[in-house]
Amino acid sequence: MSAAGTYTPKPGAAPLPRMIAAQAALETKMLLRNGEQLLLTVVIPTLLLVLFSAVDIVDTGEGEAVDFLAPGILALAVMSTAFTGQAIATGFERRYGVLKRLGASPLPRWGLMAAKTLSVLVTEVLQIVLLTVIALALGWSPHGNPVSVLLLLVLGTAAFSGLGLLMAGTLKAEATLAAANLVFLLLLVGGGVIVPLDKFPDAAQSLLGLLPIAALSDGLRDVLRHGAGLPWADLGILAVWAVLGLGAAAKFFRWE
């Protein structure tokens, strides 16, 4: 028994920016609390960066190995959060009715998606700071225009988010979990992250070069290693993936 008037209606939505900020904060907290997600977004990229810089396992061509690896690992970090992490988390949110329940809250659906994007960006900033510090400690000497780097990271995030959400919104949660991890592994090996694409046969190279991960790592490498201006070809590939992925996700995403 509560005091009379305890539940007297006073309905109303919180201001939209406050709802989106609260949602983004919660999603980021959930991600950072999840052990598997941390493994994917922090532990694996860090280990790969340190291991492959210190030990000469793969021939990375001329110059310091870390100068080749750091841009690839940054691309991997973006993929791990925007694609793999987001796909798995969103897949299970859909499965457990979280998306459904939030769909009846005052937060509009586009606000929920905006919060997800914000949460992905916050996580990426944390990853990039951590990986940059480690790479610098390993002797990395980055070049190029930070604006080009930013543009590549944003387009890469858009491309991977579209694909991740498409997967999460159409497949079962378990299938998303398996597929997102498998794709992560395949793209890690075949996307120019730690293994230069020129190690692959010519025919495979031109095809692999069209993958979003290859475009992102190649573009980042052009700028950060060789000081290139705007890598238009890679930006173009990422833009096409972003449009296709986000378009398909918007069309096929199922909330329940």
């Binding site: 028994m1 209606p9 609260a22 919660l26 005052p106």
Partner: protein
């Protein structure tokens, strides 16, 4: 005083919180809701029916989750799909299951839902009132079923809505937790929050509801207060045992005209009709006049379960 109260009540009930006309909803070839009409006023409305009757589909159409294949739905005067932006802040939703991040703690999730509203309830108080304080740092997936249910209920009310939809709010609860939920639902009613709940427990509907809509096979087959529903249909029954071979015809003469009386087995008597205190007094005084000690007097009131059985030929617990 009574007049004022009832006047107030009737004006409240004149403005329906939910109005459904001819609702049809199909999933593939299966028709889940088949031309359903329902009007719910203020207070507590229970939507009662067996599993698969279309309760959840009806509720979820009101919540804006499903688009009707035919018919019209208005909630607080709004179209739940086209005017969702205006409606959502005004309703509270308790899904049948889930709805919470598996890695979130109960207080964390409740505080989050509160943040989405302009003037939410005090979360600390609500946690205490619903006995969720004991959840501590446990994440949602490790909470007991009862704790998960209570959290979902808290999430439905924390935003101080005009109207709440509770889909089987006491499913799987132990009797004590069930009482606590009923108390909260009554408090909501007292404070002027409209409540639409689904249940397949007739005792829950009888206990709580001002208005009961019985649904079967996607249609409302009866609606009214629990008393109205139980009064209709078959009559109530009074049974007693006594000396075999009593003069039933003489008993019948003493009873009101709509009654029947019979000796079912030697010494076992049944009186049917409007079983009220007057009828009971008539039977006992007739026994006294005839030197009969009526033993094992029992009154069987017609329950919603009986009503449902008569209307559909089915047991409610499906």
């Amino acid at each position: 005083m009574g007049a004022a109260a009832s006047l107030d009540w009737s004006t409240m009930r004149n403005e329906p919180v939910v109005q459904i006309q001819g609702l049809v909803k199909r999933y593939g070839t299966k028709t889940a809701v088949d031309g359903l009409d329902l009007t719910a006023g203020a207070g507590i409305t229970a939507v009662l029916g067996p599993n698969g009757a279309g309760k959840t589909t009806t509720i979820e159409t009101c919540e804006g989750y499903r688009k009707p294949d035919a018919g019209a739905v208005r909630v607080l005067g709004l179209d739940p799909v086209r005017e969702a932006g205006a409606l959502r802040p005004r309703i509270g939703v308790m899904l049948q299951s889930g709805g919470v991040y598996s890695g979130a703690r109960a207080d964390e999730m409740l505080r989050h839902v509160a943040k989405l509203h302009a003037e939410p309830l005090d979360v600390t108080d609500l946690i205490e009132r619903l006995g969720l304080g004991s959840c501590g740092r446990t994440t949602y997936r490790r909470l007991s079923g009862g704790q998960q249910q209570r959290l979902a209920l808290a999430m439905a009310v924390v935003g101080r809505p005009d109207l709440v939809f509770l889909d089987e709010p006491t499913a799987g609860l132990d009797p004590q937790a069930r009482r606590a939920t009923w108390d909260l639902v009554r408090d909501l009613r007292r404070d002027g929050v409209g409540v639409i709940l689904t249940t397949h427990h007739m005792d829950e509907a009888e206990e709580l509801a001002d208005d009961v809509a019985i649904i079967d096979a996607g249609k409302v087959i009866a609606q009214g207060s629990p008393d109205e529903l139980c009064r209709g249909g078959a009559e109530n029954t009074l049974r007693f045992t006594g000396r075999p071979g009593l003069d039933v015809a003489s008993l019948l003469k003493a009873l009101p005209p709509d009654s029947t009386a019979a000796e079912l087995m030697p010494g076992a008597y049944r009186v049917s009709g409007t079983v009220d205190p007057q009828l009971l007094a008539t039977v006992t005084s007739w026994c006294a006049q005839h030197g009969v000690m009526p033993d094992r007097i029992s009154v069987e009131r017609h329950t919603l379960e009986d009503v449902f059985l008569e209307l559909t030929g089915k047991e409610l617990r499906g």
